[in-house]
Symmetry: C2
Subunit: 104 residues, 2 copies
């Protein structure tokens, strides 16, 4: 589908991608975590896309099994949500992933 191709293109062309919602604190947390480690993620605010937002969220669920935000990709690979990303950071595994994805 067109939206599926759109997502695949986005996550392959950008080292770090966050599907987010502007009013969601978990989305804010993951965005500021990336900022803290010196990375500028490519952010898609699903609540600012009109009807396309919920559509993208549905396609993301089909592609990743995750229907929630934030939805995080690094180096084209699906990472998970806020809790998953913070876990990786605390284990010291986030920054190596980011270096590999050439985002630093």
């Amino acid at each position: 589908s067109r939206l599926e191709e759109n997502i695949k293109k986005t996550v392959s062309e950008n080292p770090v991608v966050v599907y987010s919602k502007t009013w969601c604190s978990y989305s804010s947390e993951v965005k500021s975590l990336f900022k803290r480690v010196g990375v500028q993620p490519f952010v898609i605010e699903l609540d600012e896309l009109g009807p396309q937002g919920p559509q993208l969220q549905k396609v993301l669920e089909r592609l990743t099994g995750q229907h929630t935000v934030p939805n995080v990709f690094i180096g084209g690979k699906h990472i998970g949500g806020c809790t998953d990303t913070v876990k990786l950071y605390r284990k010291g595994e986030l920054e190596p992933l980011l270096l590999k994805a050439n985002s630093k």
Copy 2:
């Protein structure tokens, strides 16, 4: 106003009150924090009230200065959001407040 009286009644009749949204992880966090300390909060899910939800959220802002969820009251007193409540818990100040409010 009617909604204002509704809120004042709710927070005076219930030791712990959380204005929440069902899909919000910060709201879930504060609800499970209270559960962890053995307290059953009175929860109002603003996204399940149809048009009254946004109306209540507006009146809450007028009453508390806070337009976000979760919005937490203990013993009729406005506490704040998720971060504020977690801060109190970590400082050891939450449980004394709860005892005073007769919720334990």
